[in-house]
Subunit: 238 residues, 2 copies
Amino acid sequence: MQLIPIAYARNGFSDKFGIPRQRVDGSHIETRIVFCEAYRMPEALRGIEGYSHLWLLWGFSANRRKEWSPTVRPPRLGGNRRVGVFATRSPIRPNPIGLTAVPLLRIEHTHDGDVLVVGGADLLDGTPVYDIKPYIAYTDAIADTKNGFVDEVDFPTLTVEGLKQHLLPPTTHHNPAKYEEWEELLRQDPRPQYQHNPDRKYHIVYNGEELTFHVEHNRLIVEKITLQELCFSSCKKN
Amino acid sequence: MQLIPIAYARNGFSDKFGIPRQRVDGSHIETRIVFCEAYRMPEALRGIEGYSHLWLLWGFSANRRKEWSPTVRPPRLGGNRRVGVFATRSPIRPNPIGLTAVPLLRIEHTHDGDVLVVGGADLLDGTPVYDIKPYIAYTDAIADTKNGFVDEVDFPTLTVEGLKQHLLPPTTHHNPAKYEEWEELLRQDPRPQYQHNPDRKYHIVYNGEELTFHVEHNRLIVEKITLQELCFSSCKKN
C-alpha cells in the first residue's frame, strides 16, 4: 500500500533530542497539523470538534535511512538489553509508522486552511501525517493492561532550576518559548538514558532556541538559552 | 511511504457483515496473526508476551476499490447523517489503514512460525497487517474522553434464542464455530443500522457456516445454520 501524506506537523522540535517521551495531560507543548492542499476541505473535519483526543498516524521520516532489525535496544532499558521490535514502539521497524494519541486543543482557521492544534505530541517538526482518527474510549481505552518492560522502568522527573532568569525576550523575529514549555521538556529528563555523567553539559533545541544544562542528582540546572544561529532553524516557527 | 504486509490475519470472517464493531473483553472470537516469511523470526517477538494487549495496524483491503470522500455516513448514525471522514473510523479514507487494540491471548509455535493469537479483532480473514505495536497504558489509555457522535448513540444488545439446537456437529472436514462465538456475534446486533425490518431474514457467515436469523424487538431468533457450499469459504479455516 502506498501512503500519501495528508498533512504535516509543525512545532518547535527541529531535533529528536528532547522530544516528549510520554503524553503529559495539560501539556503546554503545541503541534499544528497543517493539511496538504488536496485534503484541506473543512467538511473533512466536520464533527471532529466533538472529540477530546485524536490518533495521529505518522511517518518516522527522520529514521527512514535505517534498516530494521528483529531486535532493538530501547533507551528506556539503558540501551543494553535487546527486545523484539514488535514488543517496542521503536521508530526503526519494518513499516515505520508512528502512533500517538493527542488532545485536540482547538481548530484554527488560517490561510493554510483549518489547522488542528494538538497538545504534547512526540513528533518532529515537518513530520508527515498519514491519518487522523478520533480517539474512541470504548475501543481504545483499556483499563487494566500489562505493559511489558515499560512496567519495570521508573520514569523519575527532575526539578528544574535557573530557568526563569535565562528566558529570551521577544523580538520582531522570534517569539520565545514560554517557561511552561521549557519546564515540561526539561522536567521529563531529556538526557539519553545511558548518559548520566554529572560533569557533562547537555544541549536541547526547541523553538529555534538552544538551552544548555547540566544535572546534579535530580536537579536540572539551566546554564543558558541562546537563539540558534542557523537560519533554517530560526525560520521554522511559522 | 510504501507499506509492505508483515503478516496476515486468519479468522472465520470471510464477509464484512457480522464483524464485531467493538472490542468485547473476554471475547471468544480468535484471530491468528501469521507472519510473512521475511518477518517470521522468533526474536522479533521477544518480550511481546509481557504485554496483555497489542495494536494492529492493518489494511482495509476489502474497500480498496472505493475513492475516499471528505464526508461519510456512519452506519451508527443510521446512515443518513454526513460526518467528516477524519471524525470517523470509516474504512474509506485517504490512507485506508485500520487501527485496532486487541488482547494477546497466546503465542503458538507452528509450521508457519510463531503465530500471535488475539481476541475479538474486527478484521476480515486475509487482511494484511502492516505493524504490531505493544499497547502501553501511559500513552494509549486515556480516562476521560469526549467521543463525538459515538457518545450520542446507544448500542443495544439482543438476546439470542434458538442457537443451541442449530449448532453444527463436527466433521472430519469442518470444526464448527462454538456457541460462545456465535452468541457474541449475534448479541451485538449484526444488522445494518438502517435496516430494522421485522419480517426480514438475515444471513451471517462465520467460520464457513451460514446462520439465518430474524429479529423480533430485542430478540434475535436463529432459524438455521448450514455449511457454506462454496469451496473457497469452507477451505479458509486453516
